[in-house]
């Protein structure tokens, strides 16, 4: 329809001029869909991402480490909530988003389908996984959708301690006993490549990226973000005396960046499709908690309704 085209053009011009889009503003249906998909995926990642770390809270090796880890996982729950809250402004309920997560229709970051057998993973996740996430999130603080951008500002502010916490854990291990050092290296070996995959497929295989960039939902391409992450992280690994598990990794003077080896895209797509080591566990755990909590949610609601009625009766009697 003619009017639609002009509305879309107007929208594009509005976004091009660096204006923010707010919930009740007109937006192309595809913009709304893209946002719901991306924000809910982001929220699910925070929520599912609690599991691999929650796994170590009861076994944290010092009380200080236990408190920090607990606070960090709590932050993740909070961040998931901020993001669900942002997505709900687009007219999709949290219930719907959770149903989509549990049915497999909605995705979450594949990194959380890898297991955390070692305490060192608590460090590596903070350092690499949160590091990679921050790379993405800092960009998203300037995303064109207002509620999403505001949620990201809050998240980035709180998240700054996560990466430092992770690096501190790895540092203590890398500078500790030989067994601890071995733990740190072994963990880095497992997480390095999945961390690079977090930025998504390479630009020539990322069909949605271009439109997202045009709408300023996204502001940097997957490959750009990945390269920035590698360039930042490699020196941090060197500082710890750890080896990045990539024989092709070397500094390229001309580009002013590190060259790196080929990512195993076969693994990447398989883990997305559900074949990662923990895909089933993560969703099973989520469904179990949700189902076991049903009677609690019902009870709270039933009580609220009774209370509301009692209040009403008291007012009408008065």
């Amino acid at each position: 329809m003619g009017t639609n085209i002009s509305l879309e053009e107007k929208f594009q011009a509005y976004v091009d001029a660096e204006n923010k889009v707010e919930p009740k503003d007109w937006m192309p249906e595809k913009y709304r869909k893209t946002l719901v998909r991306q924000i809910s995926q982001h929220a699910h990642s925070e929520i599912i991402g609690m599991q691999p770390e929650a796994n170590w809270i009861t076994r944290a090796p010092s009380l200080r480490a236990k408190l920090i880890l607990l606070a960090k996982v709590q932050d993740e729950a909070g961040h998931g909530l901020y993001l669900y809250s942002a997505a709900e402004t687009l007219g999709t309920s949290r219930d719907q988003m959770i149903a989509d997560l549990q049915s497999g229709k909605a995705k979450y970051s594949s990194i959380f389908n890898y297991p955390t057998p070692s305490w060192a993973d608590m460090g590596t996740i903070g350092w690499l996984v949160d590091g990679a996430a921050i790379q993405n999130q800092v960009m998203l603080t300037r995303t064109s959708y207002g509620p999403y951008a505001r949620a990201m500002v809050k998240i980035c502010k709180e998240e700054s301690f996560h990466q430092r916490q992770g690096y501190e854990v790895v540092m203590k291990l890398a500078q500790g006993t030989p067994e601890q050092k071995k733990m740190a290296q072994e963990s880095l070996n497992r997480w390095w490549w999945p961390s690079l995959m977090m930025f998504g497929p390479s630009d020539d295989n990322s069909p949605n990226s271009e439109q997202s960039m045009r709408w300023k939902i996204k502001r940097k391409s997957n490959d750009t973000l990945r390269q920035e992450f590698i360039d930042k992280t490699v020196p941090q690994a060197h500082y710890l005396g750890l080896t990045i598990p990539d024989p092709d990794l070397k500094w390229n003077d001309e580009r002013g960046s590190y060259d790196f080896g080929e990512i195993n895209w076969d693994e990447f797509y398989n883990v997305i499709q559900g074949n990662g080591p923990c895909n089933k566990d993560r969703i099973t755990h989520h469904v179990k908690a949700h189902e076991e909590g049903a009677w609690v949610r019902e009870a709270a609601l039933a009580y609220a309704e009774k209370e509301a009625k009692r209040k009403e009766n008291r007012t009408s009697a008065a």
Binding site: E22, K24, D25, W26, Q74, D75, G78, L81, Y82, S85, A86, E88, S93, R94, D95, R150, A151, K154, E158, A294, R297, E298, A300, L301, Y303, A304, E307, A308
Partner: protein, 95 residues
């Protein structure tokens, strides 16, 4: 509606006395009392607030963007509402 679906509440936090309550986001709760407690745990984990308001989201009446122009455009030319509209000689102080 699902029988265990909790209501959505909008949360407003006053970060310190002297400032207005500011919208910080939303959350789900079975009732308003729980919403206040949830808001404390969710939105003031780093002592960001000293006072919280919660409002059921469906109780908020919002202006529609289509009315943006009629509602807000008129004030764009009420320049007399802005202090710089008035020519006051520089040597008049504390104005």
């Amino acid at each position: 509606m699902n029988k265990n679906h909790w209501k959505l509440y909008e949360v407003f936090v006053r970060s310190k006395n002297g400032l207005a309550h500011k919208h910080v986001g939303s959350l789900h709760a079975a009732d308003a009392d729980m919403a206040i407690k949830n808001a404390r745990d969710v939105y003031t984990r780093r002592s960001e607030g000293i006072s919280i308001w919660v409002v059921p989201s469906d109780q908020i009446t919002a202006s529609s963007p289509d009315e943006k122009e009629p509602l807000f455009a008129p004030s764009d030319d009420k320049v007399y509402r802005h202090p710089t509209f008035y020519d006051i000689p520089d040597d008049v102080e504390h104005m």
